[in-house]
């Protein structure tokens, strides 16, 4: 008999039905299991119970302003490429009540003391995990720690999955974030036709997996997985040249390309909503009509919103040109000065979900070409 003791770093072969039991165990441990699910002809991350909720045999076909699902008869669950929305909705909720205030004589505050949900994220791609690591730097700074994000992040269980079939909009290799996971997960799946290869990334992951029935992977299976991952690395749909990118962008704020792209950009905010790293938020009061009580909420905001940069006396970015330029030069430029990392992981969502099909890789290449010409 071979020793089947699990260690951090071990890889085992897990029969696919065992995933149901693993997810059930997570729920027994007070986790809400959320993962990919086919809904309204697209894949969303939502509450799932097991294999039956996963998008079986579904492939995604993404292109600028285009997202299509293809049904295959394969017994595979993770062949689609990232869902429309990212995981940030779970750590940085789109709408969250901070407190409410009511006036009974004097104003009284009531904090929102709902306990933070504990999420187990099922099927986190390497680019998406990189995005979570970037948001960690934004929300968990030394001088500011976001309590909503922190409480959700601390309780997080991450079941990662390696991408084997990148889409036409993917460029994680250029951004150095994928397609293969290296660290930061509790468990990491690589899906083959018969089994999941599962790598243990943490003590928590080890203890959850230890309860399951698994085998040591054969050399054949491991080889197949490695080959599939190498193939994925070589089949990125897009590339971005990141050399000196912050300097290139921040020293060419007057490039003509900003005028060109602003004629196509609708300033609709889609790119910032689907972006897994965009972090801007607003605070709004939902007051009752009598002015006696109000609820203060934190909601997602976007630098493409006209109100975003409103100050009394005007808007500091009144034109789409300045808003698009702010978005791109922040994400791929000044973000580096602020958080010591670029704000793009190469997931391609902003390309897919832009109704005008604006392609961030094409814009960067155009500015580079303009500067070099």
């Amino acid at each position: 008999m071979t020793d089947k003791t699990l260690f951090i770093g071990s890889t085992v072969a897990l029969p696919k039905p065992e995933l149901d039991l693993l997810l059930a165990d997570l729920r027994k441990n007070d986790y809400q299991t959320v993962g990919p699910h086919m809904q309204d002809e697209s894949i969303v991350y939502t509450k799932i119970e097991g294999l039956k909720d996963l998008p079986r045999g579904i492939l995604s076909e993404q292109n600028p302003a285009s997202y299509r699902m293809l049904q295959t008869d394969k017994d595979r669950y993770f062949d689609f490429i990232p869902a429309n929305q990212s995981w940030k909705q779970f750590l940085f909720p789109p709408r969250h009540t901070l407190f409410s205030a009511s006036k009974e004589g004097k104003w009284q505050l009531k904090e929102n003391d709902e306990p933070a949900p504990r999420y187990a994220l099922i099927g986190v791609r390497a680019c998406e995990l990189a995005a979570i690591n970037i948001q960690d730097k934004i929300f968990l700074r030394e001088d500011f720690s976001d309590p909503i994000y922190r409480s959700r992040r601390e309780g997080l269980f991450i079941m990662a999955v390696n991408c084997l079939d990148p889409d036409a909009t993917c460029f994680c290799v250029s951004m150095g974030t994928g397609p293969r996971h290296t660290a930061g997960f509790d468990l990491c799946l690589t899906e083959l036709d018969e089994v999941f290869l599962v790598e243990v990334g943490s003590e928590l992951g080890r203890s959850m997996l230890a309860e399951r029935t698994y085998d040591l992977p054969s050399a054949f299976v491991q080889n197949a997985a490695n080959q599939a991952m190498d193939r994925a690395t070589r089949s990125m749909g897009r590339t971005m040249d990141t050399r000196d990118l912050p300097e290139l962008l921040t020293t060419h704020l007057d490039a003509d390309r900003w005028n060109v792209v602003s004629k196509r950009c609708l300033s609709c905010t889609n790119c910032t909503l689907v972006c897994p790293t965009c972090f801007c938020w607003d605070a709004v009061d939902q007051a009752d009509i009598l002015g006696k009580s109000t609820r203060r909420e934190r909601v997602w905001d976007s630098c493409f919103n006209p109100n975003y940069s409103f100050v009394v006396g005007g808007n500091t970015r009144p034109n789409i040109r300045s808003r698009y330029r702010q978005w791109l030069t922040h994400k791929l430029g000044t973000w580096k000065a602020q958080f010591d990392v670029l704000g793009c992981v190469g997931c391609g969502r902003c390309i897919t979900w832009c109704p005008a099909g604006i392609d961030i890789t094409e814009e960067v290449a155009a500015i580079r070409a303009e500067v070099n010409s």
């Binding site: 901070l98 500011f144 934190r298």
Partner: protein, 292 residues
């Protein structure tokens, strides 16, 4: 970068582990200043918060009016002058600030703060100081003026250039005499005079043509409309005042005060956290970029 002397953990009104949760403060006094502008004196209702609260001139608070939201308003005094009260001079022009115009003595607002960097009053000791401000740009500098007057011997020549649209828009006119007595060369100008106005008509940057500066020992503090500051900076640089001796207070949309919500970004900076007061040297590459 300018630094503040406040240990924010020990002296602020806020909650480290709660997002945007304010402390209540009661309005103690309201002074009408000009049309659509009034000065509010606040005291925190929680004495512990009131006693620990400190700030430096140039910093700001987030004022919360329930049902309306928050507005970033700078302090227009200092604690010593105001007997420990928080003083904010507010122009009632936005959604939240218009709501404050309807408040009365005894009403409460929520306050979080202080946030941001302050005027570099210690770094510029020993220097001549030109304070150039316009309109509602004077209130954020008044605390600095008080501080300078209290320590008058530590500074060289002080010149205060102040401009407003109309004579009736001038802030704090009752105090000008006291400031002049404290050996501040105060020069007031308006864009347009009225029947009784006998003073200067013109814009603030033009005043640089009326006096000489020794660039190496002169600091400039400026706050006001961005177009005014642009020309104040232009005139100061033309007189060879080094860009790290010119201090600028910027205004941007601010929602959190903690460099978290993203709104106030300009280039690499979160104006609420890295500013609002910057040495111009830090802004050289971004200040004149249109719509940036």
């Amino acid at each position: 970068m300018t630094t503040t002397l406040i240990d924010t953990a020990a002296h602020s009104a806020g909650h480290n582990d709660k997002l945007l949760l304010p402390h209540w403060a009661e309005i103690v006094k309201i002074i009408p200043e000009a049309e659509g502008v009034s000065t509010f004196h606040f005291r925190f209702t929680d004495p512990t918060v009131q006693n620990r609260y400190r700030f430096e001139p140039g910093q700001f608070n987030m004022l919360y009016v329930p049902g309306y939201g928050e507005a970033a308003i700078s302090m227009s005094s200092d604690l010593e002058t105001a007997g420990g009260l928080l003083v904010h001079t507010i122009r009632h022009i936005g959604n939240v600030t218009r709501a404050t115009s309807r408040l009365k003595v005894g009403d409460v607002v929520g306050i979080r703060g202080p946030f941001g960097t302050s005027w570099p009053l210690e770094a510029i000791e020993g220097m001549d100081v030109v304070i150039a401000c316009g309109g509602i740009g004077l209130p954020p500098l008044r605390g600095a003026i008080y501080r300078i007057i209290r320590n008058r011997a530590r500074y060289g020549k002080i010149t205060l250039l102040y401009g407003a649209r109309m004579p009736k828009d001038l802030m704090f006119p009752a105090e000008y005499e006291a400031w002049q007595k404290a050996d501040i060369d105060m020069q007031v100008t308006v864009d347009r005079g009225d029947d009784t106005w006998t003073g200067r008509v013109g814009v603030v940057p033009m005043w640089f043509y009326h006096f000489r500066v020794d660039p190496h020992k002169t600091a400039v503090l400026t706050c006001g409309p961005e177009i005014m500051m642009r020309f104040v900076i232009y005139e100061a640089l033309a007189r060879r005042i080094p860009s790290d001796q010119i201090y600028v207070s910027l205004e941007r949309n601010m929602k959190c005060g903690q460099g978290a919500c993203g709104h106030c970004q300009q280039g690499p900076y979160f104006i609420c956290k890295d500013g609002p007061v910057f040495p111009f040297k830090a802004l050289e590459n971004i200040f004149n970029v249109e719509e940036y």
